[in-house]
Amino acid sequence: MTMRRLLLGLAGMLTVAPAFAQQPAVPGWAVGRPEGSTLAPHAPRLTATPLEQVPVGALRLPPGFHAEVFAHGIPGARMMAEGPNGTIFAGTRAIGRVYAISRNPDGTTRTRVIAQGLSQPNGLVVIGNNLYVLAVNRVLRYDNIEANLDNVPAPVELTQAFGLPTDADHGGNHSWKFASLGPDGRIYTNVGVNCNICETDRDRFALLVSFLPDGSGRRIEARGVRNSVGMAHHPVTRELWATNNGRDWAGNDWPDDTLHRVRRSGEDHGFPFCSSGSADPQFNAGRNCSEFVQPAARLGPHVAALGMRFYTGTMFPEAYRNQIFIARRGSWNRERLTGYDVVVAHLDAQGAVTRIEEFMTGLRDDANQRFLDRPVDVHVMRDGSLLVSGEQMGAIYRITYRQ
């Protein structure tokens, strides 16, 4: 309703002032977009992909690692969270569903749709026996969910308590959420920027924020983070780390997507003035980038670095312990494809990133400039295996290690 009023208001202004109507201002999403470009978001696949078309055979991993299909036929599967009884919940964006994937005794899986018709239910977090679903500004709590998978009761509505900006407030830009449970029991999430790049209310958008589970106690964890769709707390230092998506339409190789380390709540990470450590060509506003927190690592231009987790299991070699696995969904705002893989950010004893290592590749076909799937999230299972969600093919891969 607010958006409609706003849009009608805008339309009205333009009608009154026909000079503007003939030359409409460039909308925020299109700032910097060259007129001759034909780069557009890739088509999603929202229909079930048969098992024989899931490209598990194309996956390339370091020696000793093995990939299998954990579950398939889950169109649009993205962010994952695990219940206390081992149910894997998966959120989506366009298709509006939340899935529950449970393991049968014979190792096969069973997938149920436990919610549908939601607007981009991408943010999931499990606290105790309850599943929280963050769908743009809606926050829904499904109590005792694993005992009720076949007959899901109406969720508890927490939308008002959280008071997140609506999709209209976002102008449709970066309104979907990632959610994570902090070691302090708080829910950590993102409020993405309400444009591609623009001057904006920096207390309201381009933030990492946290809440108490009832929606009270909002706290800004980091300012000037354009849009984070992946966060996790370091298992030892308990510091918050987050991935971030850089702006579009500023060239093929700038800015990088970034990894951020939040040492103290509320510090400024620089967007829109600076991205990946250097000045924005249009929105720098004379700011010196050294006054902001620098990214912990640069993750590549337009790669769409999304879900990330610290590896806390024991199945993988010791070198991976407490290192960060990051899913890079893959580029669209770039002439040649980048990403479409899972990388590992290796940290030294001080928590500085020493290198970014390719871990799961094979989904990007450079010769033909096409891709086979788009990894969106990673999840460490209790047995130490790693799940990777493939949004394009609606599949979840499971990676194991054996010496």
Partner: protein, 196 residues
């Protein structure tokens, strides 16, 4: 008309004869005759100004929209009944069938108004329509062909995007429509309807 459809179906049946194909236009043809033709036309060319023609439409677009309608994300009451419980395979086959039909302008297209068409054409560049719909505005994958479509339908679709009543897989179209007046949209719709 009927003969052409039969021939098209026969050719496609030959091309898509392998079992297990993801999208099967020949399989989609009888489903379309049963479920879609009454409104969208026997040959995918709608006779109703407010109902889009689907002949030659991008298969990815038709698939995506039917999924969004089936899932209750895009609200089209008349389509909700048609898509309820429809399997993914049927939707993909229908989309392949409509994509296989030759596109053509509506038979009842009203005369071209040169001034209105020029006003519409003048908005195509600034609104960056060709970035996603491609310079010919014939679309690709999930992005639809928007030329030679029913003018009334085009205008309604653009107003729904502008006013936040319709979303796609993303909100690109909502953003692209921000600030357009009813008159702008009428001009765009007229220009697009007359561009072949």
């Amino acid at each position: 008309m009927r003969l052409r459809r039969l021939l098209a179906a026969a050719v496609l049946a030959a091309a898509f004869a392998q079992p297990g194909m993801a999208q099967d236009a020949a399989r989609g043809a009888p489903i379309a005759a049963d479920r879609c033709a009454a409104c969208h036309g026997a040959d995918g060319r709608s006779q109703m100004p407010d109902i889009p023609s689907l002949a030659g439409q991008q298969a990815g677009f038709v698939t995506l929209q039917m999924i969004l309608i089936r899932e209750g994300i895009r609200h089209v009451p008349a389509m909700a009944d048609v898509t309820r419980g429809m399997p993914d395979q049927d939707i993909e086959d229908l989309a392949a069938y409509f994509a296989s039909l030759p596109p053509a302008p509506p038979e009842d297209r009203r005369p071209r108004d040169a001034t209105l068409a020029a006003a519409g054409e003048a908005l195509i560049g600034p609104r960056r329509c060709g970035v996603c719909h491609l310079p010919a505005l014939t679309g690709r994958d999930q992005i639809p062909r928007i030329v030679a479509q029913h003018e009334t339908y085009l205008a309604r679709a653009m107003m729904e995007y502008r006013d936040g009543h319709r979303v796609g897989a993303d909100t690109q179209m909502n953003g692209a429509m921000v600030g357009l007046s009813d008159a702008d949209i009428a001009a765009l719709a007229h220009y697009l309807a007359h561009r072949d």
